[in-house]
Each structure stands twice: as C-alpha cells, then as structure tokens.
C-alpha cells in the first residue's frame, strides 16, 4: 500500500501516521503538501491529526478550501480510500465528505486519554480485519470531538451500518457515543481516536494497527482491479 499522508502547515500527527504505516505496518507512506493539486499514484489518503491552518476559527473550516482537498475529493469520488483521523475527521466533515459536525467537548476541555472503542461494523475497508463487537484501546486527544448530527442523519448512519466505532464510555458527549463513521460508499472513514498512536507495544496498545491492516488488505485486493 502506498498511503499519502496529507501535510497541512499545522498538521502535527503527520509523522505519527507516516511512522505507523511505514514502521509498524511495514507498508509505504509518503507526505503530500497541502498546496498539491495532485496526489500522485497513492492507493490511500490519510488526513492526520493536528491544527491544519491553526484552526482558530472552526477546526477544518479553512482546510476544506485547500488545493489538496479538491484532489482528495476527486480521489474519494473515484473510490479511493480516505482515512481522516482527529483533525482529519473534522476536515472531512467540513469538506462535506462525511455528514455531521464536531463540536467542543462536553466539558469544554481538551481531553487526552486512552479510551475503549467498540467495533460496530467490519463491513468496510478500514475495519475488515476486526471482529464486530471487539473492544479496542485507542487514545483520543482533542478539544472538539463531540460528534453531532440531526436525528435523521444519525438514524441513517445506524440503519446503513455506517457507524464504524463507538466509545464504550463516552468521553466528550458525542451523539450516540459515535467515535467514527463511514460515508455512504464506505471508502471514506473519519474517526476522532488516534489508531496511529496504538500501533506499537511501547505505546501501550497495538489495537489501532488493525485499521491500517484492513486498509492494506483492501488496497491489495483493489489493485489488480485497477490494473485491468
């Protein structure tokens, strides 16, 4: 798998995603600068955590207009895998690639802690290596991670089996404890927790690796199709 890690000027988990894919997964990752209009020949895109353009306005509100996001939208529309982590999730929501919004945490404070996530679906290229109901230990680190959407959208997410992960103990007041969701086509996933921080025994958990392993498997099975 060749994953393109998008680098906004304020991305600060870009190296972590790069390291998880290259060193923990033994896949391939490269950086893509935010003013690129071309993603090259990547098989998957990762929008990492951080503060894209400072995010003093609303997280991701400016990033959605960046040149690279136009390319990411096209990539997603063509069926490419796009994973947004934390700030990346916020950007995907702002860009309209995923529904809903991410609001200030319930207690209005930044929260950094390891949380437990329940795997809600394995029917996606990001979760196929997991088992439904499997509990993962993965860290969160965000100030604006409270997932919000209207009831109709939430109902739809649930009936379409598009909730990827839920918090076992809801840390931030997210609607229906949602931690990660898929788009309708299931090739775009956003999640607030950081799977790239849970890929190495020295970090206390390797539960996040399954997300990247799933992506790797998906791109391997996908590649021959593209080649034809």
């Amino acid at each position: 798998m060749k994953a393109g890690v998008i680098v906004f000027p304020g991305s600060n988990c870009d190296h972590d995603a790069w390291y998880a894919v290259n060193e923990n997964l033994h896949g391939g990752a490269e950086f893509i600068w935010h003013d690129s209009t071309n993603l090259g020949d990547v098989d998957a895109v990762i929008l990492p955590g951080g503060f894209s353009y400072g995010d003093y306005l609303r997280c991701g509100a400016i990033a959605r207009f960046s040149p690279v996001m136009q390319a990411v939208k096209k990539f997603a529309a063509d069926g490419g895998l796009v994973l947004g982590i934390c700030n990346g999730f916020q950007i995907l929501v702002e860009a309209g690639l995923l529904p809903g919004a991410l609001l200030r945490n319930g207690e209005l404070k930044f929260i950094c802690r390891e949380v437990r996530l329940r795997t809600e679906t394995t029917a996606s290229p990001f979760t196929s290596k997991l088992q439904e109901g499997r509990i993962l230990r993965v860290p969160i680190a965000h100030g604006e991670g409270r997932y919000f959407a209207d009831d109709r959208t939430l109902d739809e997410l649930e009936s379409d089996d598009r909730v990827a992960f839920r918090y076992v103990e809801n840390p931030n007041g997210s609607a229906r404890s949602i931690a990660g969701i898929l788009n309708r086509e299931r090739n775009v996933m956003g999640m607030m927790p950081h799977p790239e921080r849970a890929c190495d025994p020295l970090m206390g958990s390797t539960d996040g690796l399954a997300v990247f392993e799933s992506m790797l498997a998906a791109t391997l099975s996908f590649a021959p199709v593209l080649a034809q």
Binding site: P9, G10, N12, H15, K109, I111
Partner: protein, 741 residues
C-alpha cells in the same frame, strides 16, 4: 529626551548603574539607549544578583556537549544524536494574565530548543499555586490554575509537542506569586547543532516570523521587580502567543537550517530584538547593524524604543551566508512567514540601530551582554525563616490513621493531577513510553535504541526550612525518580525561584540553595547545562518559599519500565532503602504536618547522598536482573501515601511495619532514599540490595481490594483500594469545580 533621575528610576536602573552606562558609552545615553540598557541589565536578562553564585554549579561532564551560555544545554546520547533541554519560568506574566502568560512561557522555551536546531519532543511543567480549597481568595487561585493549565494546553497541543509530566503544589505563599516553570527537550544530530554566534563580516541579518507589535514591552523589567497593587496595570506587558505560527516557525527554521545557508540563529525572547542582536554579536565578537524601518511591523507609528523592547512572540533573528539569502527566503515563503534582511554583520563590535534614516542607538555589544553589573549582594545572615524548630506543643494525636490517609491522598498536593494532564496532549509524536502521573516520564528517541527519562522536582517547604538541604533533596528525588524507571541520570537544568535578592535573608536562601544544588549535582554526576533564575517573586513584601526546581534527565535503553501500580496479587513487597529515619523535628516538613496538623516546623528530611546513590544503583541492578514487577519511589506523604499510589488499580497490599511508639512518623515520615518494589524473587532481590549495602526489608505482599498496614500487635490502617482510588482521583476536579458553584 533628557534623561532625568525619575526616568532612570522608572527604568529600574540605580544611579551607580546609570553612571556605569555613561562611562561605557563615554556620553549620556539617548532615551532609546536607556531602554536598551534597562532590559539588558535587568535581573531577568543579566542575572546580576545570581551570576557569581551560579558559577559554583558543576557544568561539565562526559555527556555535556554544550553547557550554560547558549539558548539551551546539550548532551550527547550516542550514535551521533544529542538532546537539547532547559527549564524557564514565566511566573510574573502568569499571575497577571494566566492563560497567555503560561502559553507564551511554553512558546519561549520551545524556541530556545529549536533555535539550537533541535526539534522539541517533550515538555514538562512545574507549577505552584495558592490554595484552591475553601476561602474566598481561593476562587482567584482556581481561576489562575484553570487559566495556566489551559494556556499550557493551548500552546503545547497546537504546536504538537507532548507535555509528558510535571508537578504541581499549592501553598499560601504562591497565592499572589504563582510559579510556572516550563521544561522542554529536543533532539537533533550532533553535527546539526546551531549556535547563536554571529560571524562573517558583511553577512546579512535576517528577521523571520511574526510581525513586531507593541506587546510585551518591558516584560523583562517587569519580571525583575516586586508586584504591587498597580501590577494589574501591567497586563499589556504580557505577550499574546500564537502556537500555530510557532509551529510554522519551527518547521521553517529546521528546514532553513538544512540549506546550510544559516550561520547563526537566536530567538527573540525577553527583550526581543535588542537581546537577540547584541547577544549574537557579543558571542561572535562582531557588530550588528540593523535598520528598524525594515522590520515587519504589525502596528504603525512605533518608535525605535518600542520596536527594540517589544516582546512580540514567535520571532527569530538569524545570520545567513552572504549571497545565499534567497535559499532562506524560499523556505520561509513556503511556510507563509515573513523573512526580511534588516541588517548586516559588522567588524566594529557595536550594536547600531537605525530608524527613519538616523542612528538611534550605538552601543558596544559587550557593554550590554557582558558588562552588565554583577552584584555580590549581602547574604551574611541566616536565611529567612519563621517556623519554629521544634514541634509545637499540644498538637492533637491522631485517632484514626485510615481517615488521615484518605484525607492525605485527597489533598491537593498529593492527589491525582489527572484533571491537569489530561488537558495536555501527552502522546503526540508517539514517543511517550511513560507519560504523566508516574515517577519519571520516559520518551523514546525513535532513531536510536535510547530513551530519555526526565523528572522535575522542587519542594518549597523543605527549602524554606533549610535551603541547602532542600535543594539537595530535590536533586536526589529527581535522580531517584529516574533510577526507578531504570535510567542513569546524566545532566540537569534548574529554575531558581526566589523573592527579593536585595533582602540579605532572601539572598542567603538563594546562595544556600545554589550551593546545595552544586554539591548534589556534583555528587550525582548531573552537571547543570543551563537554566533560569526568577527573582522578585514577592507581592506587597511577601515572598514565596525559596523554590529551586530541578529538572534531571537520564538515559536508558528503550524498553517499557515496570509500572508504579502493583501488577498482580500475591507479589512480595519490599522496601528498598529501608524504613528510613524520621524524628519529631523532621516530621514538621511533611505533608502530614501540613495537611492533617496544619503546621510547618523543624527541618526537612535528612539526606545521606552516598546511601541515596547506592539505592539508585541497587534499583537499576534489580531492574537489570529482571526482578522488578512494580516500582515507586517514596516522597511526599511517606510510606503510607506511596503505598496508596501503588493501589490505584484494584490490587492493594498487606503490610507489616516494625513495632514503634510513633506510628505517625513511621507511616508518614518523608525520609528519602526509599523505593517500594514488588518482585518476582524476594530472596534474589535482597541479595542484590545487600551487595550495594542497601537495606531491603520484606514488608508484606500484595492482595486484592484492600490496603492494610499494621505492626505485630495491631492494625493501623485498613482501607479499601476503591476508597483510596476515589479519594485520589476525584479530589482535584471537585476542588476546582467549586469555581462554578
């Protein structure tokens, strides 16, 4: 403008200092020049009261690549990699404007690190506040706590550096003088270190980063005076931080350094453009000629005085190789930052400043940087202290030690600081092997198989009772924290927080503490490679406890250390170092005396440095032998509190202590040189301890659900681990929540 005695006084210069300025210049200074001298000769920038004593500190050692005198100290960690680290205070601004004061404190120390070419990979904070429980004044303190913590979080989280540890203590004396000391550590290759030494006559001097505004003017002088009722009016002296801009500056600087076109670089911290210019010039033995008209400005109509003294954040000054400016500019353009040539390196050794076509200041660089006054301030008196030496009569005897213990673990000093550290991203960069809430933080260096262990410690109560011994105890505790994770301490940084040095009894505290640090750092082979002095921590004549804060770093092979918490039931529990000595006098410095008895008296715990070091060697040997299942060093609150901290999972312990008349001293005395361990093989563990001449009594075993401590005849303490955990974890949020009631 004519220089009047009033103007000189406003600039916090004495008549003698002013006369020295006239002598150095050979003429009267201009108003602008007076401003420049006032900041460069301020206590904050010149260390004029402390410098002669700081010379007593050990600064060299086999790991030291760069000692004090640069923006940060540097030590080698092998394989061609080095670590840059330092601690710095932002006490005064954090009192006036807690959020921005603390935020820019983080920003300042981060720049000190990446100025050296090192990417910051860890931050820790040592915080001191006034009491947060009860009375009306505490509402103000709670606001300061909330502001400081969110300020640190705001800056560090956005910048992308993990805040991996620290300490936080509450005392009356910090009510109007909170302390915010920020430690930062970065990593780079040894052959990619940058220094702040200008060189190459004719080389361009380039300004990069944020535009200059009127914020922070005279911040350095503000930090060099006591606070009065009028200090609130100094709020405009506090700068405003922009962590996103700092992140851009970091990336741009590191990238620009890789071009090879940069000769020297220095951040604009205290005294901004002035100090960065004259210090780079002075270190390189050259002159710097700058034109203020070229400086990127955020506001119009700024005077030369304002521009030179502005402490606008997120700015750097660098010297590039002539002809290669464009290589530098290209990088900064990529990151959307200003980069402008504002001057040139000259041969004459002067700082020359032009504004609107006129030379507005011309001062020999050494006059500013090296000729600042140095005072051997009177200190031939006993260090200031009020508490009695002996235990006050008629103190109540405890009737319920279990209740005392639950109160202690819920006390602000001892309770879990989770409410604070969960607001910090302590994992970003995926290097944090051990984060906040442990004895020492451990951060791996991915490019090597080495990890860095680090610990901050300072105990104002100990130092108030005996500055020399208190300072030694802080060094010892840091080294013990590191040893408990298996690391070898290699170097240190210190932040000396004291009151008004013009009072001999305060100066005596400073001198005693520095000498104590010097003795202990020499003994533990942890040379001081840099640091910070913060004086005048007084409000309306009331000073803080003398509070030297030590930051010690150690090296270890990358591995997951044993946890603090008990790992399983039925494990043998040993007290490496033994029960220690405590008497009534030494009990007066303890948290028990503070929290349960509401008193302070006597002397700090007695430290035998030789024994302490053997305890460190012993624990490292035990870890090396693979015997350790959990390890936690004893400190504030003594044996009973340390045991409680090991019980925060569901596993407790049954502990037996030797019979004694004074169970309070045995349970809550704070004798150093002790580490609680659970081991796989108690016999072998005790053999190893014996080889180092260290006592290692078996004191019990772990068990599920309860902490029971008794002697042969009776049960002294019997509490559920769930109650301990509840008291420990819920206390701080509950106390701080009162803010909203």
């Amino acid at each position: 403008m004519t220089i009047t005695p009033e103007l000189i006084e406003q600039h916090q210069l004495t008549t003698a200092e002013y006369d020295k300025i006239v002598t150095l210049l050979g003429r009267e200074p201009s108003y602008t020049e007076l401003g420049i001298f006032s900041v460069m000769w301020s206590e904050h920038c010149s260390y004029k009261s402390s410098r002669i004593h700081l010379k007593k500190l050990p600064t060299t050692g086999k790991y030291v690549v760069q000692g004090p005198g640069e923006n940060a100290g540097i030590i080698g960690i092998g394989g061609g990699w080095v670590i840059a680290f330092k601690i710095e205070s932002h006490n005064h601004p954090s009192y006036i404007e807690p959020f921005q004061g603390a935020a820019t404190g983080v920003g300042g120390i981060l720049r000190d690190i990446f100025t050296m070419g090192a990417r910051p990979i860890a931050v820790m904070d040592s915080l001191r506040f006034g009491p947060i429980a009860g009375a009306s004044e505490s509402a103000h303190n709670r606001r300061i706590v909330a502001g400081v913590v969110s300020g640190i979080a705001h800056y560090g989280n956005c910048f992308g550096v993990p805040t991996v540890g620290g300490e936080c203590i509450f005392e009356d004396c910090y009510s109007a003088n909170p302390l915010v000391n920020v430690f930062a550590l970065g990593v780079c290759k040894e052959n990619e270190i940058f220094f702040a030494r200008a060189s190459g006559i004719g080389n361009p001097v380039i300004y990069v980063g944020a535009k200059t505004g009127r914020d922070g003017i005279h911040g350095a002088s503000m930090a060099s005076a006591e606070f009065t009722e009028e200090s609130k009016q100094k709020r405009p002296n506090v700068q405003v931080g922009d962590p996103f801009l700092e992140k851009l500056l970091l990336e741009a600087c590191i990238e620009a350094m890789k071009t090879g076109a940069i000769v020297a670089i220095q951040d604009m911290g205290a005294a901004g453009l002035t100090s960065s210019s004259c210090e780079m010039g002075s270190r390189g033995g050259v002159g710097i000629d700058i034109d203020l008209d070229l400086v990127p400005q955020r506001e119009t109509g700024m005077t030369a005085y304002e521009m030179l003294l502005s402490e606008s954040q997120e700015r750097m000054l660098l010297v590039a190789e002539r002809g290669r400016e464009e290589e530098v500019f290209r990088v900064f353009r990529k990151w959307g930052l200003d980069a402008v040539t504002i001057g040139i390196v000259t041969p004459d050794g002067n700082l020359r400043v032009r504004h609107l076509g006129q030379v507005v200041a011309e001062i020999p660089n050494p006059a500013l940087a090296d000729e600042a006054p140095r005072y051997n301030r009177p200190h031939d008196v006993k260090p200031h202290r009020r508490p009695p030496l002996d235990r006050p009569a008629n103190l109540p005897q405890s009737t319920d030690l279990s209740a005392d213990l639950l109160r202690l673990v819920a006390a602000p000093d001892l309770c879990s600081k989770r409410w604070i550290w969960e607001q910090y991203d302590y994992m970003v960069r995926t290097n944090t092997i051990v984060g906040p809430g442990s004895d020492a933080a451990v951060v791996r260096i991915k490019e090597t198989d080495t990890s860095i262990a680090m610990s901050l410690d300072g105990n104002g109560r100990y130092c108030y009772l005996d500055p020399r011994e208190g300072a030694k105890l802080a060094v010892a505790e840091c080294c013990r924290n590191l040893a408990t994770t298996g690391a070898v301490p290699v170097a240190a940084t210190n932040n000396l927080n004291f009151g008004n040095p013009e009072r001999p009894e305060i100066m005596a505290q400073l001198v005693e503490a520095v000498e104590g640090i010097a003795e202990a750092c020499a003994f533990f082979e942890t040379p001081i490679t840099g640091g910070n002095v913060s004086l005048y921590n007084e409000t309306l004549g009331e000073g803080i406890y003398p509070t030297p804060v030590l930051g010690v770093i150690g090296l270890m092979k990358t591995a997951m250390p044993a946890p603090v918490q008990f790992a399983r039931e039925g494990a043998d529990l040993l007290l490496l170092g033994g029960f220690g000595e405590c008497d009534d006098r030494r009990f007066g410095a303890t948290e028990y005396a503070k929290v349960i008895l509401g008193q302070l008296w006597g002397l700090p715990p007695q430290l035998d440095m030789d024994y302490e070091k053997r305890v460190h060697d012993a624990i490292r040997a035990l870890i090396g032998a693979g015997l350790i299942e959990s390890a936690h060093d004893l400190s504030d609150g003594g044996l009973a509190v340390a045991l409680s901290e090991c019980c925060t999972s569901d596993i407790g312990a049954k502990v037996t202590i030797p019979p004694t008349e004074r169970t309070d001293l045995a349970l809550f005395g704070e004798a150093p040189s002790r580490i609680l361990i659970t081991v796989t093989d108690a016999g072998r563990a005790r053999e190893i301890a014996a080889k180092y001449g260290v006592a290692c009594p078996a004191i019990g075993a772990t068990m599920k659900g309860r902490l029971q401590i008794g002697d042969d005849s009776q049960m002294l303490i019997d509490v559920r681990t769930s109650d301990l955990k509840q008291a420990f974890e819920t206390s701080l949020p509950r106390l701080l929540q009162a803010q909203h009631d």
